[in-house]
C-alpha cells in the first residue's frame, strides 16, 4: 500500500513537472506598456512552450491599493510590477521573494545596472529589478523659444529664469502663457528634494535613508530658490490647466515654455505636441558647477510569495527574460524608456539621440529616494511648498515643517 502511494505520488510529481504552468503578471494600465508586455509574452511563450503568462492590468490610480489588498488575501500575481519607492513596504511585508542569486548574482547586478537601481537592494539582496529607468529633464517649446529670440536651452538656473521670463505672458493670476510650468505635486518636489538641495550644497537624506538632513541652510536656500520662480520671478503658476497632469497638458497645448518632466512623458508629449520641442538636461547653479544632480526612478518586476514550485521556476525564467538585453532594447523602441543596463544605456546612438540623450546623460548622477510611505512623504513636501506659495510662509520654516513631518513618517516605519 505504502509503495503504491509512493508510486502515485511520484507519478503525480512527474506529471506536474511535465504539465504546462500558467503564471500571472500584474502591471498598471498604460497602453504602450500593456501592448509591449503582450508582445514580449508571445516571444517568451514561443521560447518556453510549457509556460503560459497571463497579464492582468489595473488603473494606475487604483494599482497600489489593488496590489496591497492582494497581500493579506494571499492572492494575486506571481510576477508583479511595482514602483521602486514601494519596495521597502512590500519586502517588509514578506510579499516579494529575493531573486535567486544563482540566476541574478548580486555582484553582477551591482555592476551592470544603472547606479540608482541600488535602492532595489535590501538587506544585501535584490528583491526586484527594472527593465528600464527614468530620469528628469527640461522639455522646452522650441517655437516659443524662437519667438522670444532664445537660441539654446538653458544650462544654468540663471539662464532658465531669464529664458522663462522672456516667454511668460500675462500676469498673476491671469497668465496666458507660462515661462515655466511650475507644479509642486508633479515632478517638481523631486527636483527640489534630490536636485536643488544637493546643488545648494546640502544632502537630502542620511546614507541609510532613515533621517532627513535637508533641514539646513542648503535646504532653506533650495526652497527659497524654487518658490521664487513663482513668487519673485513670476514665471508661472501651479494648476495652470486644471486636471491630472496640469503642467504636461499645458505644455502639450503649447502654452508653456518649459516643464520639468520624466522620460516617461516622452511618449505622451511626442504624440500630443503639435509644435517643435526639445529636451535639455536639468540646469546647474553656476556654469562651472560640478554638482550635477537628477532624480531617478523606475518600475521593477519581482516575484511574489505566491510563486512556488513550478510557478517559481517559471517566474524566474520570465524575470530573466524581462531583464534581458533583448527585452530592454525592445522596451526602449516600443515604450520609450531608457534601458536599465549601463552597457545598453551607454550606446553612442542613444547618447546622441536628441530626445533620449539628455535623460541618458543624467543616469550616472541620478539618485533615487528610498521611500517608505510614498504618499505620506510626498504630502509633507507638497504641503510645505504650498505654505510658501499660498500663505507666504518663510522658506526656512517650510523646510523645517517638511523635515518634521517627513521624519515622523520615517520614524513610524523604522521604529518597530
Amino acid at each position: 500500500m505504502k509503495k503504491l502511494l509512493t508510486l502515485a505520488l511520484g507519478l503525480s510529481i512527474a506529471s506536474a513537472a511535465a504539465a504546462p504552468v500558467t503564471i500571472t503578471y500584474w502591471q498598471y494600465d498604460y497602453a504602450s506598456k500593456v501592448t509591449a508586455i503582450n508582445e514580449l509574452i508571445k516571444k517568451f511563450e514561443a521560447a518556453n512552450p510549457d509556460i503560459t503568462v497571463k497579464q492582468e492590468n489595473f488603473p494606475y490610480d487604483a494599482y497600489s491599493q489593488k496590489v496591497a489588498s492582494s497581500v493579506p488575501a494571499g492572492q494575486g500575481p506571481d510576477v508583479v510590477n511595482l514602483y521602486y519607492g514601494w519596495l521597502p513596504q512590500y519586502v517588509d511585508a514578506g510579499y516579494l521573494q529575493p531573486l535567486p542569486t544563482k540566476d541574478f548574482p548580486t555582484v553582477l547586478t551591482d555592476a551592470t545596472y544603472a547606479p540608482m537601481v541600488k535602492t532595489a537592494k535590501m538587506n544585501g539582496k535584490y528583491y526586484a529589478l527594472p527593465t528600464a529607468v527614468r530620469t528628469l529633464a527640461v522639455f522646452y517649446n522650441k517655437d516659443l523659444f524662437k519667438a522670444a529670440g532664445i537660441k539654446t536651452p538653458p544650462k544654468t538656473w540663471d539662464e532658465f529664469i531669464a529664458d522663462a521670463g522672456k516667454i511668460v505672458q500675462g500676469a498673476p493670476p491671469r497668465y496666458t502663457t507660462l515661462g515655466f510650468g511650475i507644479q509642486p505635486d508633479g515632478q517638481d518636489y523631486h527636483v527640489l528634494r534630490e536636485v536643488l538641495v544637493r546643488q545648494f550644497g546640502g544632502q537630502p537624506y542620511s546614507k541609510d535613508g532613515k533621517t532627513v538632513t535637508y533641514n539646513s541652510d542648503a535646504g532653506a536656500k533650495a526652497m527659497a530658490f524654487y518658490t521664487d520662480l513663482q513668487t519673485k520671478y513670476k514665471l508661472g503658476v501651479p494648476n495652470f490647466f486644471p486636471g491630472n497632469n496640469s503642467y504636461r497638458d499645458a505644455f502639450i497645448a503649447g502654452k508653456v515654455g518649459m516643464i520639468i518632466d520624466g522620460s516617461f512623458a516622452v511618449g505622451t508629449i511626442k504624440s500630443g505636441a503639435k509644435f517643435d520641442w526639445g529636451v535639455a538636461q536639468l540646469p546647474v547653479l553656476t556654469s562651472n558647477a560640478k554638482e550635477k544632480d537628477n532624480f531617478g526612478s523606475y518600475w521593477v518586476n519581482g516575484i511574489t510569495k505566491n510563486a512556488k514550485g513550478d510557478k517559481l521556476a517559471a517566474s524566474v525564467k520570465f524575470m530573466k527574460f524581462l531583464t534581458s538585453a533583448e527585452t530592454q532594447r525592445y522596451w526602449l523602441q516600443n515604450v520609450g524608456e531608457i534601458p536599465a543596463s549601463r552597457k545598453l544605456a551607454a550606446d553612442p546612438a542613444l547618447r546622441k539621440d536628441p530626445v533620449f540623450g539628455p535623460f541618458v546623460a543624467s543616469l550616472p548622477y541620478a539618485s533615487s529616494t528610498v521611500f517608505v510611505d510614498e504618499a505620506g512623504q510626498r504630502k509633507a513636501w507638497v504641503d510645505a511648498i504650498n505654505t510658501v506659495l499660498l500663505q507666504g510662509n518663510s522658506p526656512a520654516n517650510a523646510v523645517k515643517a517638511a523635515a518634521t513631518s517627513e521624519q515622523k513618517v520615517l520614524d513610524d516605519y523604522y521604529k518597530k
Partner: protein, 307 residues
C-alpha cells in the same frame, strides 16, 4: 393577493394570515441577510480593527487598545477634516434647502414651460459627479475660467477659487449645492402639492397676506419635507468625498488640506497609506457623529402640524 376558494383548500382564516406573514418575513429576510453581511458585519469588523495597528502590509497586526483613538485627538489633519466637514454641512444644507424651496415656490407660480424648468434644475442631479467636478475645475480656473472672465467684465478682481486655501471649500460647496438643488426642488414640489388649496383659500378670505400664508401655512406644513431634507442632506455632506477628490485630483483634499473631509481622510489613510486600523478608528468616530446628529435632528426638528 387574492386566493380563490376553488384552488386553495379550506383553512382557518388565521392560518392564511399567518402564512402571508411568514411569506412577508421570508421576503424580508433576504434583504436583511444581505444588509447584515454587507453592511452590519463590516461595521463590527471595523470597530474591532480600530483597536489594532492594522497595516495592510505588515505581517503582524498588534492589538493597541485605544491608541488609534488617542492618535486621533492629536492629529491636526483629522481636526481640520472635522472642522471642514462641519463647515460643508453648515453652509451646504441650509443653502440647498433655502434655494430649493425658493425655486420650488417660483416653479409653483408659473404655468408655461414648468416641465422644462423642472428638467433643467434636475439635470445636474443626474449628471455624473466626476464629470461635473472636472467641468467645474475649468469653469473656476483662475486663468481661463469663464467665472473669472465674467468678474473681470464686471470690473471685479479675478479670484483664485479652488487654488486658494481660503476659497476652495466654498467653491466645492457651491458645486455640491448646485448638484443637489434639483433633487431638493422635486422634494419641495411634492411637499407643496400635498398642502390642500383650501387652507390658502381660507387664509385669503380671512385677509391674510402672502407672507403670512407662507409662514403660517406653507412652512409648517412642509415640516416633514424639511426634516427629511435636513437629515438626508446632513448625512450626505458628512460623507462628502467624490467632489472633493475630483476638484483637486493631484492634491486631494488640498490645497493645504483646506477641502479635506473626514471621508476622504479615511480613504487616504486606508488605501493610500494602508493604515487600516487608524482608518477604522476614524470610521467609528464618523459613524458616531452621524448617528448622534441624526438622532438629535429627528428629536428636535420633527413637529406634528395639524390644522
Amino acid at each position: 393577493m387574492t386566493a380563490s376558494p376553488a384552488s386553495v383548500p379550506l383553512r382557518r382564516p388565521g392560518s392564511l394570515k399567518r402564512r402571508q406573514t411568514i411569506t412577508a418575513y421570508t421576503f424580508l429576510l433576504l434583504p436583511l441577510l444581505f444588509f447584515l453581511i454587507v453592511r452590519f458585519l463590516p461595521t463590527l469588523v471595523a470597530l474591532r480593527l480600530s483597536l489594532y495597528d492594522w497595516n495592510i502590509l505588515k505581517e503582524v497586526q498588534p492589538y493597541v487598545g485605544g491608541k488609534n483613538y488617542s492618535r486621533l485627538v492629536q492629529d491636526a489633519i483629522f481636526g481640520k477634516a472635522l472642522v471642514n466637514t462641519a463647515l460643508y454641512t453648515l453652509i451646504g444644507v441650509p443653502a440647498q434647502i433655502v434655494l430649493g424651496l425658493g425655486v420650488a415656490l417660483l416653479l409653483g407660480k408659473i404655468r408655461a414651460l414648468q416641465g422644462l424648468f423642472r428638467a433643467l434644475y434636475f439635470a445636474p442631479y443626474v449628471t455624473p459627479i466626476v464629470a461635473a467636478a472636472w467641468v467645474w475645475q475649468w469653469l473656476f480656473s483662475p486663468q481661463f475660467g469663464p467665472v473669472n472672465t465674467f468678474l473681470i467684465w464686471l470690473h471685479l478682481p479675478p479670484q483664485p477659487f479652488l487654488t486658494s486655501p481660503g476659497q476652495a471649500l466654498a467653491t466645492t460647496t457651491a458645486l455640491v449645492v448646485w448638484q443637489n438643488l434639483g433633487f431638493q426642488v422635486v422634494l419641495f414640489l411634492a411637499g407643496l402639492s400635498a398642502i390642500p388649496r383650501t387652507f390658502y383659500e381660507a387664509a385669503e378670505i380671512d385677509g391674510a397676506s402672502g407672507s403670512a400664508a407662507f409662514w403660517k401655512i406653507t412652512l409648517p406644513l412642509l415640516n416633514p419635507t424639511i426634516v427629511f431634507s435636513v437629515v438626508t442632506g446632513t448625512i450626505s455632506y458628512l460623507q462628502l468625498f467624490t467632489q472633493v477628490v475630483n476638484l483637486n485630483f493631484t492634491d486631494q483634499g488640498g490645497p493645504l488640506g483646506s477641502t479635506m473631509t473626514v471621508a476622504l481622510y479615511i480613504y487616504q489613510m486606508a488605501f493610500g497609506r494602508f493604515q487600516m486600523g487608524y482608518a477604522s478608528a476614524i470610521t467609528v468616530v464618523l459613524f458616531v457623529i452621524i448617528l448622534v446628529i441624526t438622532l438629535l435632528q429627528l428629536r428636535f426638528l420633527t413637529r406634528r402640524v395639524d390644522y
